[in-house]
């Protein structure tokens, strides 16, 4: 009897539940997104772009490892305990050397995130059109920057286009050098179109039109298209938004790091999202790991009265404020007797200041590139205006009729330690403006004139082999013959 009465009631409630909606049981997985359910609105776009910037913090990329390649130059010797840094400095590396390997995947990660943004952001409708353009511009620039670094280090590299991402066909052969350059050029032109000229204080640190123009100028210089370099470089040098900072040191202080001159820097910040760039440069006695020591040859080249010398270099007798106290620099802290002061910053209550931004592209660099292009096309004196703008800021008197040697000197002083010297020398060697072997076959000296014990021996630069580093052997192996090693490796 009882059973009979329950059955209709049960059936009835079952039907009700069914009607009310099984969707009560549907739960969206939280915290895991796919391209299918992300890229919905403005927040997603902004976060996605921030994610591309984040790759720059990586230690194996611009956080540290990219700068190891400048140990090849005559500006500095290696410090620290990464024995594999030795083979980079001495040109005895091979395709499985650590430093050669590790940057590759992070550059492609930056490309992958940018590709993602460029594929999916255009389809977002719930977004402010200005922000949308800005996001796309940033993605173009950051992708171009990753290919730029790949091109500088490896030369010919595979280009992973949006269609490859969508089809999953990643095993691409290397593209020719000009193809890579054209690809970078396209991205930078698109970025220059989409990016704003300046940002409000809340967005400082994002890349601007000037950054795109600046990198284009640099690209054209490396491409030997000097007239285009002048064209785009002049857009930067004549724009007040990208004026040189009042003081050289402003570029390297945490508080003023994102000034008008700083076109592109790694936005390291104390606490969240920081790089160990400052740790890799600071002396061991004061909290750092000491991986780069400038050499006597660089320090001696500064002219008297050059304000950049004291900003860039820590030398014997210098008073250094490490927050808790002011200490005197002892040459024994370094195998050369020097450190890069420009990259060492401490907090007022002690400890390293991770909010120091790592400079990746500055207007001063562009000024000097424009001057170089003008001197090389029109002869000495053509680049005086730009060179003197940089010199004036450094507290030096103007030059007239500055020639290529003066330009080389100015570049070395202005950009010491900023990962330009080795690439510059190779670039000039390729067009036979210098003989790079004469720079590298000399010993590197410490402050008292003795050859540096670790890393000071003269080196042999073999052309054209050493113009580019080898593609990581693991990638060649994994590609099963599609990826071919660089010549002479």
């Amino acid at each position: 009897m009882k059973r009979k009465r329950y059955i209709p009631a049960m059936l009835g409630s079952a039907l009700l539940l069914f009607a009310a909606g099984c969707h009560v049981l549907d739960v969206e997985p939280k915290g895991s997104y796919t391209t299918g359910n992300y890229w919905r609105n403005q927040n997603d776009a902004l976060d996605g772009i921030t994610g591309i910037y984040e790759v720059l913090l990586q230690e194996d990329y611009t956080g540290f490892n990219e700068f190891v390649f400048d140990n090849c130059s005559d500006d500095q010797v290696r410090g620290g305990d990464h024995d594999y840094d030795q083979v980079i400095e001495e040109f005895t590396y091979d395709a499985s050397t650590y430093s050669v390997r590790v940057g590759w995947r992070w550059k492609y990660e930056e490309i992958s995130r940018a590709n993602n943004a460029l594929i999916y952001i255009p389809n977002i409708s719930d977004i402010d059109p200005e922000i949308k353009n800005r996001c796309l511009g940033e993605a173009h620039f950051l992708r171009a920057y990753a290919y730029w670094r790949l091109m500088l280090i490896y030369g010919e590299v595979p280009i992973i286009r949006e269609e490859h991402v969508l089809s999953g066909d990643y095993n691409q052969p290397k593209a020719g050098l000009d193809t890579v350059r054209q690809y970078i050029e396209q991205d930078l032109l698109a970025a220059a179109d989409l990016l704003p000229e300046t940002y409000a204080s809340g967005d400082k640190g994002r890349v601007s039109k000037g950054a795109a123009w600046g990198l284009l100028c640099k690209l054209y210089m490396y491409w030997e298209k000097l007239d285009k370099a002048i064209e785009y470089g002049t857009k930067v040098t004549t724009n007040a938004n990208y004026a040189l900072a009042t003081n050289y040191v402003d570029n390297f202080n945490a508080a003023t790091g994102n000034n008008s001159e700083m076109l592109f820097a790694v936005q390291s910040e104390n606490g969240w999202g920081y790089t160990d760039f400052v740790t890799y440069h600071a002396p061991r006695a004061w909290g750092g790991w000491s991986f780069f020591f400038p050499v006597k040859n660089l320090v001696d080249e500064y002219e008297t009265g050059d304000a950049r010398k004291d900003v860039s270099i820590m030398k014997q007798g210098d008073q250094i404020d490490i927050g808790t106290e002011v200490v005197t620099y002892d040459p024994g802290l370094s195998s050369t007797g020097f450190h890069y002061r420009k990259f060492c910053r401490w907090l007022s209550n002690g400890g390293l200041d991770y909010s120091m931004k790592t400079p990746l592209l500055r207007s001063a660099d562009i000024y000097l590139l424009v001057a170089e292009a003008k001197i090389r096309t029109s002869g000495p004196g053509a680049g005086d205006a730009e060179i003197n703008a940089v010199r004036k800021r450094a507290g030096l008197p103007d030059l007239t009729g500055a020639n290529f040697a003066a330009l080389m000197h100015e570049r070395r002083m202005e950009l010491a330690g900023e990962n330009e010297r080795h690439q510059d020398l190779m670039r000039w060697d390729k067009v036979k403006l210098v003989d790079i072997t004469t720079y590298y076959n000399k010993p590197k000296l410490s402050y008292n004139g003795t050859q540096v014990a670790v890393g000071g021996a003269p080196r042999t630069f073999i052309r054209p082999k050493h113009y580019y580093f080898p593609i990581p052997q693991q990638e060649i192996d994994k590609s099963k013959g599609v990826l071919v090693q660089n010549p002479n490796y």
Binding site: D81, D83, E90, Y98, R105, S112, Q473, Q474, K478
Partner: protein, 322 residues
């Protein structure tokens, strides 16, 4: 076999799901023999078992491809690779042939005849063998092409012996375990004998090469590693065979007559030991490595990253039944 999909780094750093496309083969046979005997007062039993297994990966996604594993230490050394047609997690590196004793040996060595680093190699450096070049034939250059199979961490024989005896109230049981035909890669020794590594070094470095004829196995101590003496090579591949007494227990059951008045029905006192001894030629802390701490599962085995040895324990006890 679930294998990680071949991940070219050009896709970035995102994870790729494994695919079930690998095949591995374990073939062999097992033997067990046992014997029991004795009489009322004295009885004994003994049994021995052994298993002989050969392991081979028969298929990966493509011929010539491999599965890598976690890199070790400061230099990011790649020790284990799993290739099709080889045992799983085999060691992969360079072969060596002693130490250069003098400059003439370096000048005449065909292994580095065309090597651009020849001028930086000094007496006291390790002789690496030129196994192959890009086309498979030796080319006089020591590079990636000369890396080859060095050994397998999969044992050929795993065996054990159990024995027991009892006489009147005494009982004794023993359990031995052993492994033979296995190689281990002493990664900690690779790092501990590396002068460029900024920590203390193994005591064996006191026997390093420091003049002609002083050593043909331990290279010179130098920070200048143009020859990269401490790269992944057969210098650190050692036999991991061992024979150990895992468990021994000697007990005595006290006759019931002694206790009958106190209400205890029986009592046995015993002394037992675990890991009493282990016989091995392996120079590391212990040849029993267990599962590799890197969490790489089966992709890396037998790599000693200073595995902690198992303790020898001796226990005394008594069992009482009321």
């Amino acid at each position: 076999m679930l294998v990680p999909a071949p991940a070219l780094d050009v896709h970035g750093t995102s994870g790729i799901p494994d695919r079930n496309i690998g095949e591995m083969n374990n073939k062999g046979w097992e033997v067990e023999l046992s014997y029991q005997g004795g009489n009322k007062d004295f009885s004994y039993n003994i049994s021995a078992n052994a298993s002989f297994i050969k392991n081979r990966v028969t298929r990966l996604y493509e011929e010539g491809t491999y599965i890598g594993s976690t890199l070790y230490g400061r230099q990011g050394a790649e020790i284990s690779r799993t290739y099709e047609g080889q045992p799983i997690a085999a060691f992969y590196g360079w072969k060596t042939g002693g130490i250069y004793q003098n400059q003439a040996q370096i000048d005449n060595d065909p292994n580095i005849a065309n090597d651009s680093r020849r001028s930086q190699i000094r007496p006291g450096d390790v002789i690496f063998l030129d196994v192959a070049g890009p086309d498979g034939k030796p080319d006089g250059i020591i590079d990636e092409d000369d890396r080859t199979f060095l050994g397998s961490p999969n044992p050929d024989v795993t065996y054990g012996i159990q024995a027991g005896a009892s006489y009147k109230g005494f009982d004794l049981s023993l359990s031995f375990a052993g492994v033979a035909g296995v190689q281990l890669y002493n990664a900690d020794r690779m790092q501990g004998t590396d002068p460029a590594y900024p920590y203390n070094m193994y005591a064996e470095m006191m026997g390093r090469w420091h003049g002609e004829g002083t050593s043909n196995s331990i290279p010179r101590v130098t920070l200048n590693s143009a020859n990269q003496n401490n790269r992944v090579s057969d210098r650190f591949v050692e036999s991991g065979a061992y024979f150990s007494l895992r468990n021994i227990s000697l007990g005595y059951t006290i006759p019931a007559a002694v206790w009958k008045r106190t209400g205890i029905s029986d009592m046995r006192v015993y002394v037992a030991a675990q890991n009493l001894f282990i016989l091995t030629d392996y120079t590391g802390l212990t040849p029993i490595l267990g599962y590799n701490g890197t969490g790489d599962g089966n992709r890396q085995r037998g790599v000693d990253v200073a595995a902690y040895p198992q303790a020898r324990t001796i226990t005394f006890g008594a069992t009482l039944n009321f």
